[in-house]
């Protein structure tokens, strides 16, 4: 039996849907098990009945997004929140202020005919069965998750910081050796330390490490290195507003 798969895109940069296409030949391997019923970036084909797996990317930023999210939840058995917009809200959720204030500052009017909402992650609105963060997420990880589901196995989740991947790759610690602000110690790993490979600091795009993150200590370290508090605060909040307490 083929599993029915739907990909739903709320407000985002398109990267999480695009990254599925970047699986190339392995996408065709997945199609041995899955039948795509909805994926508007890639296909004009749509068939709306119940889905075995729904992938939802993006944040809830309009009433339409919210309706689409409820549709996906109500029509699927297993829902994956894919990417940091869906799991933590990403950059758009870090913009402070109420929606009408923001509309006024940017569009010059408080009118809201298109029903924009303050951006929030989808996990705030519906129960999700699996959350895979990353801006973007690692496509190999998504492949594994979908393969596991096809075999009826509950996919495992990662629970270690970016630092672990840095060590495995034997990259020099940019925080200690070069005093570059790096959020690796408090950020969930799974990106293979892409930013440190570029000799730059982790910007925290996979969101905070669940449970064990120690943002207070990271905050003190950066302060001692001479970064001002406002700078650190905004850096911490960029991808997961309100989740880090220190």
């Amino acid at each position: 039996m083929m599993l029915k798969l739907g990909v739903f895109e709320l407000t985002d940069c398109g990267g999480c849907a695009l990254n599925i296409l970047f699986l190339y030949e392995r996408l065709f391997d997945l199609l041995e098990f899955y039948e795509i019923k909805e994926f508007h970036m890639a296909s004009s084909f749509r068939e709306h009945d119940t889905l075995d797996v729904a992938i939802v990317t993006g944040s809830v930023s309009t009433q339409r997004d919210l309706n689409l999210l409820h549709y996906a939840r109500n029509h699927s058995n297993y829902l994956i929140a894919l990417g940091t917009c869906a799991t933590h809200g990403d950059v758009q959720a870090s913009v402070e202020g109420k929606i009408r204030e923001k509309l006024e500052r940017v569009y010059g009017t408080r009118a809201n005919p298109m029903k924009a909402l303050d951006s929030t992650p989808i996990v705030q609105h519906v129960a999700v069965d699996y959350a895979l963060p990353g801006c973007p997420y690692d496509k190999d990880e998504l492949y594994q998750v979908l393969m596991n589901l096809a075999k009826g196995v509950e996919p495992p989740t990662k629970d270690y910081p970016v630092c672990v991947e840095c060590k495995l790759n034997e990259y020099e610690c940019v925080l200690v050796k070069r005093e570059i602000p790096c959020l690796g110690p408090i950020t969930l790993g799974g990106c293979n330390a892409a930013c440190i490979k570029s000799h730059l600091g982790c910007i925290g795009c996979r969101g905070p490490l669940p449970k064990e993150a120690n943002p207070a200590s990271e905050f003190e370290i950066l302060k001692e290195l001479g970064y001002d508090e406002e700078y650190i605060r905004r850096k911490f909040k960029t991808f997961a507003r309100g989740e880090l307490r220190w």
Partner: protein, 416 residues
Amino acid sequence: MVSIEIEAFTRVEGNGGAEIIIENGEVKDVRVKIFEGPRFFELLTLGRHYWDVPDLEARICAICYLSHSVASVLGIERALGVEVPEEIMLLRELGLLGELIESHALHLYLLVAPDLFGYADAIRMASRHGEVVKEGLTIKAFGNYIREVIGGREIHGINVKPGGFGRYPTIEELERMERQSEALLKLARRAVGIFADQEYLGAKAEHYVAVNGYLYGDKLIADDEGGFDYFEHIEEKTLPYSFAKQSRYKGEVFMVGALPRVMLKHEALTPMAKHLYEEYKEKLSQGYASLNNLAQAIELVYALERTKEIAQNLLDRGIKGENVPVEPREGEGIGYVEAPRGVLVHHYRIDEKGNIAYSNIITPTAFNHAMMELSLYEEAKKRYGSSDEVTFLQKLEETVRAFDPCISCSVHVVRL
């Protein structure tokens, strides 16, 4: 009055649709609606340190993240009075070429080709035309390889920085680019023939606008104007039915993208691409929006030839890998880049501490918004009453697709 809805465009990036308004049995008006939510990037970067800004701006769009990073870096460097050596500019150009290759291959082979072969998507098309889909994926993967090396990751890498790069490419990486660009040229050349056969769709633009260099520059040019800044001749207005704004050039509808680039800058094309331009010159100068697909196919050839040139050049002279020091100061600067789908503007004012005091970003799909509406209007008018409904809607979607719209980008057309 009745209206026909295109509820959601498919095989385009982001969420948008259209409404065709019919009155007295005639097409009266067409509205392109963008319902992708606003993400307020200008507020997001306000007060942020310039160093972190290109990484944030990249998140506007995944398909053209490097164009955003490079435009952001160029705007910031101009504001801070930083000049970088040729090596760094060549590497940035290489990144933009990789992005153009990735994006054009995605658009042509996976999004447009199914229309030409009569399928709902490339996956279904692969059952009969597997070789075309496979060639497209191979070219696309090569573009992504360049994005990974130069940009730091296939999507949203942070390697492009004010003053240079986090990491410079190795000899082996440049050799691979040189080798593969040569090997893929044959495939790209063949694609030109496929897209040259597409029927004419949409309107003819009253004006073409592009950046003064082929992929980046410091001014805009138009069919009737040499170097100017965007605010001199382009005006924006907000719409009640869309999160995107509309622009006019000297009060008229204009187009940005591959077709305007090839028409305005064919002198700068590489040998094989120039030859193809000459071959299809007459056709391209018909000016219909759908010819943007043919122009993209010619640019795919250009990008592969140019990638080879740059890789060779850098291998001959060797990579120094030295960044230019950047010091914060008060200033204002604009970065102009040709994203795969057209002109992209990043405009910043920076305060004495190096924090962003003002920013304005205008994306290609925002520039093209009015031209997309005009094209849909003309195509709908021509077909209403003579085509059956399925064909009618199919052709309207094909018309929109020719612009290769990136809707995530288009909602960031805002000025503070």
